[in-house]
Structures are given as C-alpha cells and as structure tokens.
Symmetry: D2
Subunit: 240 residues, 4 copies
C-alpha cells in the first residue's frame, strides 16, 4: 500500500486580513508550510497556525519568502545569495521559536513563491539557502522541486530533500511541469486534479504532494483527493 505526505501553505493571513482555509486544510494534510512574516504571516498568525498544526497532528514547516508583503512574495527580486540565506535563516528562526515554545519541533523548510522558483534555477542562491538551513539545524528537511538546484544543494550539504508533486499542475512526459502560462498548465476540474494526485502518488517519484488552499474550491479539492486516496489504498502520512 502506497503512502504519501500532503502539504499545504498555511498562516498566510496578515493582521486583520484572513487568507485561505486553514481550518479545513488541517483535516486533510500531513504537513503545513507556515508563512513567517516576510511575504505573509505575522507573530499572532504564526502562533495560531502552529497551534492548529499541533491540534491536528500536522508536521510543521517554515515557509520563508521574499521581503515583499505587497507582492505576496510572488515577484522576483535581484537579491544576492548572502541575502537569500539571511532571509531564510531569520524567518525559519522566528517560526522555530513558536514551535519550540509550544513544545514541538520544526520538521521542514519550504521556500515560498518567487524564492522557491529562484532557488530552483540559481545554484549559488540555492546553496546559500541550504547552507543557512544546515547551520541552523541539519535535521531539517527541505521540500522542493524535483531536479532543481535546491535539490542539488541539499544533496551537497547533506540536507534531506523531499521532492514534491503538484496535484493541480500538468506534467510533461519528462517529469517537468508544463509552463504555467501554457494552455492546460493548471488543472481546474476536480476530476482532473484528483486523477493527477493519484497518478503522482503512485508514481513513486514524489514524497509529498502540494495542495493549494487559498480558495474555498481549493480546499474542496483537498477533501476530494483525501477521500479518493482512502478509497484507493493510499495512506496520507508525514514524511518522517
């Protein structure tokens, strides 16, 4: 029987602003990537998100992003590798404090948005980030794109890398993603997304699947995927 981790971004509100459907997602995922205050999240939101994970037994990861709250961390910025490492160290440390103060342990780091994509392509950036993670805690896992520079850097520094698949993105035969702006790149129907999730889960190529929860419909997909997995012998379980 196959087993796979399901991860989703959480704690992406800010102050009075809500975001996503964390309460729903917590019932279905096994890992959460919690925003750390740069692209989204704030001290109160982070505490609430960590508490939610602990309540539902969901593994906790830091989800550091670029210092661009206005752009939700989705715009690339010309930062140096040193800056990238510092941004990740700062944010991961801040979240780690919450996890530690609440009696648990940080499991992983997953980069957010533009930083995720920059670290997938840029060797030096990826190595500076992974080096920072490694110096903070060599037991931390790194979630990321299979075959990326982030994976290469994790291998180099001895950080365990968890390759993730995307339930709502179409793949090319070579395993790479169909570029986002191409026709059919983003799956929209529930049936397509559930089928894709299943295909990825049984492929053996991914240790975790990324689910989106920023809309109500996206949270619905999470529920449907988990239902389908349960009926088809796939166990959702944490990476560790």
């Amino acid at each position: 029987m196959a087993a796979i981790d399901l991860n989703a971004d959480m704690g992406e509100g800010y102050g009075a602003y809500d975001w996503g459907a964390d309460d729903i997602l917590l019932k279905y995922v096994s890992s959460a990537n919690i925003a750390c205050g740069f692209h989204a999240g704030d001290p109160h939101t982070m505490r609430k998100a960590v508490a939610g994970c602990l309540k539902y037994g969901v593994a906790i990861g830091a989800h550091p992003g670029l210092p661009d709250r206005l752009g939700f961390g989705r715009r690339e910025m010309s930062i140096t590798p040193e800056e990238a490492g510092d941004f990740v160290l700062y944010q991961t440390g801040a979240l780690q404090a919450y996890v530690k103060a609440m009696g648990s342990r940080l499991q992983h780091v997953k980069l957010h948005g533009a930083l995720y994509h920059m670290a997938a392509k840029d060797t030096q950036l990826a190595e500076a980030i992974v080096n920072a993670i490694h110096r903070l805690d060599p037991e931390l896992l790194l979630y990321g794109l299979s075959g990326s520079e982030a994976q290469a850097a994790a291998d180099k520094f001895g950080i365990r890398f968890i390759a993730e698949g995307f339930a709502d993105r179409a793949y090319l035969p070579d395993g790479s993603l169909v570029p986002r702006h191409a026709r059919g790149a983003v799956l929209e129907s529930s049936a397509d997304i559930v089928r894709q999730a299943y295909t990825l889960a049984v492929s053996g190529q991914f240790r975790t699947l990324c689910l989106h929860g920023d809309t109500l419909k996206a949270s619905e997909h999470a529920r449907e995927i988990v239902d389908y997995f349960q009926k088809n012998g796939i166990t959702v379980q944490k990476t560790n």
Copy 2:
C-alpha cells in the same frame, strides 16, 4: 575586587542605514543587545552584529522592540499582552537562529525603547513577555529595570533577572531614575558619567550597566568608563 557587566545596544542599522559605533563598543562591553528587525536591524545587520560579538567574546542578547521602524520603537503603542509576547517570541527566535547557526548560544533578552518602559509598568504585559521567553528557553536571562514589573514577572516565572543601571542617568535617593525630562536627568559631561558609572558599579545594586553607543561621543564615554574601571579595580565581565 568588584566585577560588573557592561551592556550596549548594537546592530541597530537598517539596510543601507548605519547606526551607532558597534566596532568601537565591542572593545569595551561584555554584553550586546542586538536589534531583531522590528524597530531596527535586518537579517544582514543581525548576522554582522552576531559575528562581531563572537569575534570579541561579547555575550549576545536579543533586543526586541515594537513593530514601528519609523519611530525606532520609541513610541508607545496600545498592544495587548498577547501581542507583546508574540512580538518578543518572534524577534528572539529570529536572532537565536543566527546565534545558533554561528555556533553559539543566546544569553539574554533586553526589551527596547517603549516596550522596555511599557513592560516596566504593566504587569500583564510583563508577564506575557516573560512567559514567552520562558517557554522559548528557561535559561535566558532578562535584563531590565530594577524594581520593575518585568523583574516581578521574571521572579514569578523563574527567569533570572539582571538589574541594570544607567551610567548617564541621574538617580533619586530611593534608587529610581530622575524623570527624563527633569533638569539634570541626563548626565552629559564625561566626568559625571564616569563617576556615576563607578558609583553604580560599587553599589552592589546592579549586575550590569547600560552604555549608550548611538553617537561618537557616547562611544567615547564607554572607553573612559572602562579605563576608569581598570584603574580602580573593577573588572568588566559577563553576567554568566
């Protein structure tokens, strides 16, 4: 022979902006309070400040402030005790990550500016902050104002409290500070400041003295105090 800790705020620049004279102060103090990115400081400045402390053997503390960079954390804000605890936990965790990644250990927390003063007067705020510190790491010390609510909270939660004196502030006979806006509240001549530092150091009432380093003149005072201490049998040494 008496011994006393000397502490100073450091790492209070931001991005392209410099602040203070950290390089000079590092030669004289035994403890540094490093800004954590809310009122001042940023990921790069923090790393540089931690590296400076490690180079000079200066004990490292977190110096969390209010989320008010424009006001340098000097303006009081109506925050709840819960928010205060969260702000301190976030910032202390972020700095702790740097210290840990560079192979050392965070020694203490000292609140900054308005937050320092608010926690000296407000029981609930002080307790929420000390509770957060205690949950993060019960070995952390809290530097603060003697007789303050922060001290009472530290006693209550079992956090070791380090009472600090101010070399450049006049004291009333009962040991409290002359209010800042009263005539003569702030000492300005080197001779007065050095004499005051000596009086406080030998009084036995303080475990640490706070030196200011935000101007070149202030860094000069640090040098003169340390010179005078050396000639008069007072050893500058870390709290621990």
Copy 3:
C-alpha cells in the same frame, strides 16, 4: 423631504488581501473614505477604489490612518502633533494624485481608526491635522465626530466640518455615543440599525451617516437602510 449623505470606508485591502464589499457598498453610499496605504490600501487598491467611486458617482475622500498596517490602524500610538499632520498630508496627497489623474477632485478627509479617536480628544493633534489639510486645500471637507476636538479645529481653521452619525451605535440622550464596551453599545439586528439610521437622518444633527462594510452582513445593512430611506422620503445625496 430630508436628505443625507451616506459614507463608508473602502479600498481597505492590501496587495493580495481583499477586504470588505466595496462593489456592493458603491451602490448605496454617496461618499467613500479610501484608505491611503498606511493602515490599509496600496497604490493598486487605491486606483481601483477611485475608479469604482467615479463609475458610481460616489464622492471621494481620503481615509488616512496611523502607520501600523499590522494593527490596521486601530491601536493608539504616541505620536506628536507634527507627526500626525505629516501622516495626514502624505496620505491625502497620495490619494489626491489618483483622483486628479483620473480627472476628478478630492472631496473630503476622514481619519481612520485610532487616529480618528485621538483627533477627537486631543486639541493639539486635531489642530495639526486640520492645519495640514487646510494648507493642502482649504476646500476639503472634514468628516468627523460631532462635538469633537476635530470639529473645534476645523472651525478654527475655516475647514468645513461634516458631523457624522453611526447607524449601528447607540446614543445617549446628550448625543454622545454609548461607550463601545458597554452593553448595547453596538446595534446588531437589522431592524435596530435601520430604525437608528432613520432617527439620526431626520434628527437634523448629522450631515452624513457612517455605514460599515467590512462584513457581508454590514453591506446588507447598507442596502436595507437605503431601501427604508427611499420608502420614507429620505434622499441619499452627497454633502456638496
């Protein structure tokens, strides 16, 4: 036949974060108070809000707040009168640029949240703010609390003051608001709110009523108030 202005806050999203139900409110109100980027709002949101007002013929006001996005401008901060004037001038100027670039004219200023309440109580703060508004454009109106220091300052500087009533707040016989935390201070049922709005509108004491739109239910109340006004001979019309 009575006539009254209805105003509501708008453009209070930020980046990827939505807020309120501007599209619904625009159908019912005659004036909008648009956030200017300190407590909420950003360059894109402001442009969208101004465009919405122009489409529906709604008069446009600036809604400046404290520089505290995390607290949505709801927390009091210890700022000087000079800072208060500068904050209002900056934000009002930024919004005015949008209004001007889109071929229209800024009608009024209404302070937001904690700044609104601070300027209602503090003479010096109120005068610094009104002075800044007057120097920018003496034709601007100031919306605010009847009998407040803001009103007194407007009278002193020759700025036209528009006293506003709150449809969802209970009033004491002397015309002051029941303190927010007292029982019954905030009206919750539609029937109560509509009745209160009508009473205020026909009282002749207010030139504008403030409607809330931050929840779907609040937007519903706006619709019900306007329906009731139409059936009972009260015309909703702009201040000018």
Copy 4:
C-alpha cells in the same frame, strides 16, 4: 556663457536614520530629487527636505523608487507596467502635497535606483510611468538618461525630458556610460570629476548634471565643481 542645472538626491533618511549631507548640497545644486517614502524618506523627512529647498531656492522634484526600503530601491523587482505607474503616481502625489502645502510647485520627477534603470530599458514600464506623470500634471519635467526608453516615452506623451549627465561616471565616445563594473567606470579623484563635469556642461548634450551627496566626500565634489564652474563662466541655474 554656458548654463547648466545641477541636481542631487535629498531627503533619503528614514525615521531616526540620517543620510547624506543635504545641508551642504543645498548650497550648490539648483534642483533636488526628494525621496518619497518607498525606498527612503518618510513624512517628516520629506517636509524637512522641501523646506530646505524652499529656503535655498532649489527646484523640487519627486524621486520615487521601488517599494523596497531594505534594499534602498537598488534591487530590480519583477513589477508590471501598471504597478510601476501606480508606484510613481502614489509617491509623486505624496510629495506634491508637501510642496503645495508649503506654497510652491513641484518641478520634476526623477526615478530612483533600480526603477530608473528599469525605465531606461523597458518601453512598457517607461510608458506606464510617463503616462501616470502626464495624467497627474503635464507640466512636470522628467529627468533621466539620454537616449533611454524613458526619454522616448516622454516624447510620446508630450512630457518635457531633461537629459542628465553624471559627473563621476566615465563616458564612451558614443555618449553612453562605461558599464559600472568596468575598470575606470566610476571617477574617484576630485580633479577627474571636476574635469568631467566641465566637459559635460560645455558639451551641450545635457540640461542637468547629477551630483552625488551620499558621502561627505561626494558633497566636497559638489563644492569643487561649482567653484570651478564659477571660475570658468558656467552658470548653475534651474531647468525652468
């Protein structure tokens, strides 16, 4: 007798942080580019900078930058043309409010840092920015790089363009700048900078020269250039 405008960036402090030597520069330049709160500057700093310009009879320009205070607006960000236009409109409007409230008139706009360079290369970005400036006030001048996309956009929208030369940068024979990272790209000796300023001033190709004032040495150069100009028959005068 030749005449040329000299411009310099000003008001680039933030809160407690000082920057540059505005007080010295004001004596030598005829135009100032004042930071507007995104990459640097804040409501108080802006007012002080505008007041300084009025005192010395220096023409006032807005100096809008990217929303990246941590990076001082020097890092490129992937923004859309629409965002670029909105950022410029917001900041220019905010500064215009100060100028208007103090009884004067905004003369020009000069983009800052990465935004300056992005608008020199990217047609769509440049056009969106110039369109925003034009809609705000078609009388505003645009200072920028000769032959840039910004100049082309200004020509297209009917905004008067003021080509600027750089006293401390080496030029290639075709009039373009030696790339910054090439050997000899940045002139360092006073003699070289003064000679270069003179050459540019008499070349007839530039209406304004940009002086730097972010270091004490840079302000010294400003003084030396103006001295040399006075002795050699070049008048420093505003663009208008």
